[in-house]
């Protein structure tokens, strides 16, 4: 079964057709990355799947069920660290559990387990402004995973981290994702990141009226050593192939398009 079926999805925003009859399949348990020129509508697609944007036409199906609004099957990790500033790390992680009716003390203990898993147990009582960027992103990851979503939507979650930190967080993140068995759809503008982490890469056309133009299977499995993968000839070849297509798409869009 597919975790996600997007069928002929059309989304209009501010008088523009952002996505036009876009279709995408994400098999259950897989890790798919979505890449495309900036401004093509990747974030719009993710928001539509998450139920934050209404579609003009077409449908979004999660695990066989058509969704219209935010589904509890899906969790979303945003680009910015939008943790609630007035909640501690523990309270932030417990949020999704409490929304599902779990009593506060049990949700707190569950949150502690997630924080421990991410090496943040010492910071459970800290507020977001007392945490570093990398810590906040890990708290956000725990927050999204704690309620046990079956599909994880991620919008450039590592973009704000510096190179070394990004490598560490990516490694932690990948092992956590494989452990929990959650299906992942990752939006990124970083093609290398897409090829390092995922099993399939979906390439989106330039907007407006964007759609998926090709799917690329990554020829290596899990578990993966990110540094070893980078050195594989297959990695370089695929990178080059998708990069050429991506450049062609970006060129089609011209320079005057807003980022």
């Amino acid at each position: 079964m597919n975790a996600l079926d997007v069928r002929n999805l059309t989304v209009c925003y501010g008088g523009h057709v952002v996505l036009h009859r876009l279709s995408l399949e994400v098999p259950a348990g897989s890790f798919v990355s979505l890449v495309g020129p900036s401004g093509c509508g990747k974030t719009t697609l993710l928001r539509a799947i998450a139920g934050l944007l209404a579609s003009a036409d077409g449908e979004v199906v999660l695990f066989g069920r058509r969704v219209h609004r935010c589904s509890r099957e899906a969790g979303m990790l945003f680009q910015e660290n939008a943790l609630l500033p007035w909640r501690t790390a523990r309270q932030n992680v417990a949020l999704g559990l409490r929304f599902r009716g779990m009593p506060a003390d049990r949700a707190g203990r569950e949150a502690d387990r997630w924080l421990e898993r991410l090496g943040l147990q010492a910071f459970a009582d800290h507020y977001p402004h007392e945490l570093s960027g990398g810590m906040k992103q890990r708290v956000a990851l725990a927050q999204v995973l704690a309620p046990g979503p079956r599909l994880l939507l991620m919008d450039e979650p590592f973009a704000s981290l510096d190179a070394i930190l990004r490598h560490l967080v990516q490694t932690d993140f990948l092992s956590l994702v494989r452990e929990t068995g959650v299906t992942v759809l990752l939006v990124t503008h970083d093609l290398e990141e897409a090829l390092l982490l995922s099993e399939q890469v979906a390439l989106m056309s330039a907007g407006p009226a964007a759609r998926i133009i090709s799917m690329h299977r990554v020829p290596y499995g899990y578990p993966r050593d990110l540094d070893a993968v980078r050195a594989l000839p297959a990695f370089g070849n695929l990178l080059k192939e998708i990069w050429t297509r991506l450049q062609r798409e970006a060129g089609r869009m011209g320079w005057e398009m807003p980022a």
């Binding site: 969790g75 949020l95 929304f99």
Partner: protein, 259 residues
């Protein structure tokens, strides 16, 4: 320490200037003389009923203005029709020096405490209205998205996002509102009254008693400042999420007493 030293230097220079005849003793009586007058009115007990009246008027206006301003701000933020009617009125009231309404309020509510509470109320309500109204309109929509994708409903969005952000705005405006509440009470008494610090001030002014005038100004400043500090203490206790904790480094010293 530096601020205390500066204040002390200022008082010594003033004292000297007055005693050495650089300035007229009638216009600028030395601080020691003012302190004597101040001590006198407290010792004789004649100031207490006036202080109580002004305090009651200011706090009454503050309380009613807070409730009305918050309710109207909430209404305007939630119901567009209410905003359409209220916003121009409030903007106008905010733009004009509202104390010019004092004579009219005296005609309407008499020379008793009613007109003073009304003026206080007007000053406070407009300030609080804008704090709540813009507080709700400037709520971080990313946080709303986050709560929604975590499975939160309308009530959760209200409790986890709207309420805490508005409380923060409200408290910030409350500290300004305290000053306004006293402005309303004292200016109202100034215009027409038979009791209160404003009445005493106007009496002292009409008899060219500079020492008494300065002493009364000092009382108003001290009372307003005390309430301001109390609010700030309370705010810091309630909004711990805004503060820098000792663990994360030296705490920003708001009082500025050290260094």
């Amino acid at each position: 320490m530096r601020r205390a030293a500066a204040l002390l230097t200022f008082l010594i220079v003033w004292e000297a200037a007055s005693r050495l005849g650089w300035v007229s003793v009638l216009l600028m009586p030395p601080p020691t003389h003012v302190a004597g007058v101040l001590l006198g009115v407290f010792r004789s007990g004649q100031i207490w009923p006036h202080l109580a009246v002004t305090l009651a008027e200011a706090l009454g206006g503050l309380l009613v203005g807070l409730i009305a301003g918050a309710a109207l701000g909430l209404g305007a933020a939630l119901v567009p029709a209410v905003a359409e009617v209220l916003q121009p009125v409030m903007t106008l009231l905010n733009a004009i020096p509202r104390v010019i309404l004092a004579p009219l309020l005296v005609i309407w509510f008499g020379i008793g405490p009613g007109s003073k509470v009304a003026l206080s109320f007007l000053l406070v309500a407009v300030t609080v209205f804008f704090a709540v109204y813009s507080g709700i309109r400037h709520v971080d929509l990313r946080l709303v998205d986050r709560v929604r994708t975590l499975g939160g409903g309308g009530w959760h969005v209200l409790r986890e996002v709207y309420l805490p952000s508005v409380m923060a705005w409200l408290f910030a405006s409350l500290k300004i509102a305290v000053g306004f509440a006293f402005t309303g009470a004292v200016v109202g008494e100034f215009v027409a009254s038979s009791r209160g610090l404003g009445y005493l001030l106007s009496f002292a002014q009409s008899t060219y008693n500079a020492a008494m005038t300065i002493a009364l100004i000092a009382v108003v400043v001290a009372v307003t400042f005390a309430i301001f500090v109390a609010f700030e203490r309370f705010e810091r206790a309630v909004f711990r999420w805004k503060r820098t904790p000792p663990a994360a480094g030296p705490v920003a010293d708001v009082s500025g007493a050290e260094t």
